[in-house]
Symmetry: C2
Subunit: 248 residues, 2 copies
């Protein structure tokens, strides 16, 4: 159930990568290979590459995962959302340029903004529902017809969007009661759960309240606790150790 988040922060890389031109890719590939035994998915966070102008390195990381670990899906974490013609291009970026298995998207623009992602048959579309950040309640918990906005997103996913293709939802580990509620609304749908580790969510609680009736349905993400388990030459070994024990 563990998803290893690839959020390579240049200021926190192990010292051996200092000044290397392909440091982000080399670091991520070392983490990928070290944690593959424990990982059900890898989730590169696009912003870490984009801020450095390192899209080519991200392409290289995705290609490595496809070749070396063909059974482990890539969740391209970009949280894109735009009108149809533009969303088509983001879908091409995610599923063709980077050849990701799934992508995270933002529901604010509505169903027609999600359709171009679903049009890529066999790929996953993971919609933001209740995000892990402290301020996510500004709009997500506001009541519409007596239920919070995030529950309406979950209901759309379980009915309308599930008809369009492979849909999942993002629900933060930092809100376990809401996670339980979402699980009750969506059956066995996959839930991507960030917020375990550095953000304070508890893995055991997430598994207890968020597991589907079939025992699966959870993709629990951890990024920083694994990536930065050690800043020394043993960083990959340390990452493997943390990954192996993150979910208890």
């Amino acid at each position: 159930m563990l998803c290893v988040g690839l959020d390579p922060d240049v200021s926190r890389l192990p010292t051996q990568f200092a000044g290397k031109p392909n440091a982000l890719a080399e670091f991520c590939i070392a983490i990928v290979d070290a944690t593959a035994q424990s990982a059900c998915a890898f989730k590169p966070q696009i912003a870490y590459f984009a801020a450095e102008g390192a899209e080519a390195q991200l392409e290289h990381v995705c290609e490595h995962i496809r070749n070396a670990h063909p059974n482990i899906p890539i969740i391209w974490d970009a949280k894109r959302g735009d009108i149809g013609d533009t969303a088509k291009l983001y879908a091409r970026e995610a599923f063709e340029r980077y050849n990701a298995h799934a992508v995270t998207v933002n529901p604010y623009l509505g169903t027609d903004s999600l359709e171009p992602f679903f049009a890529h048959s066999g790929r996953g579309v993971i919609v933001l529902c209740r995000t892990s950040n402290a301020g996510s309640g500004t709009f997500q918990t506001q009541l519409i017809d007596g239920a919070p906005l995030y529950e309406h997103v979950a209901r759309h996913a379980a009915s309308e969007w599930a008809q369009l293709g492979e849909v999942g939802l993002v629900v933060g580990a930092t809100y376990p009661e809401e996670l339980a509620k979402v699980r009750s609304l969506v059956g066995d749908m996959p839930l991507l759960v960030p917020g375990v580790g550095a953000q304070g969510g508890d893995a055991a609680t997430v598994i207890r309240v968020g597991r589907a009736s079939n025992g699966y349905g959870l993709i629990i993400n951890s990024s920083r606790a694994i990536l930065y388990a050690s800043s020394g030459d043993d960083f990959a070994e340390a990452a493997a150790g943390v990954a192996a024990t993150t979910l208890g």
Copy 2:
């Protein structure tokens, strides 16, 4: 009040650009120079570059605008939205890597997800409110305490977010009544209005109902009608002609 949207679709470029390695940048720069006299802003749409792996060409376009037209702001249209640590990186991408004057962002993750953009003092943060697409009502028009979600976004912008920095809102030309309502809620705040031209919005109506009390406050975007005014060698001249007359 005219914003020229830079949405360079490789399949629709004038024939003279066919097969050129820097076609997107060369086309955009020709459009920029031809329409600068009529433009109050340029709005590159990131997806068109990202789908082609052409970030370097977008950097080049932004640099050209900064150098050749220093008084015309660049609105980096990416509609990003993520938790704080990640939003910081997207803000760096927008304001440092591309040196944009303003960026479009998505409000779904809440106020704390917008703060890293506001932290770049002197730059603009333009938040999605009521988007131009047909399906934008899935969530944006749902009622919270008797008012649609997009009005709540507008109220947050006028109160809380206006305290954080330079804020604006995206409101589609395709919903003129909602545009009038948003204007009534936000005083003289800048509104970025897409949807004129190919999407069917009417510029005269937008100006009548959306103008601020000071006569300004509107940034009316047109992309395709200008960019593809001609597919021949006269494309730049044709674009200049359409740009000069778009707002009547």
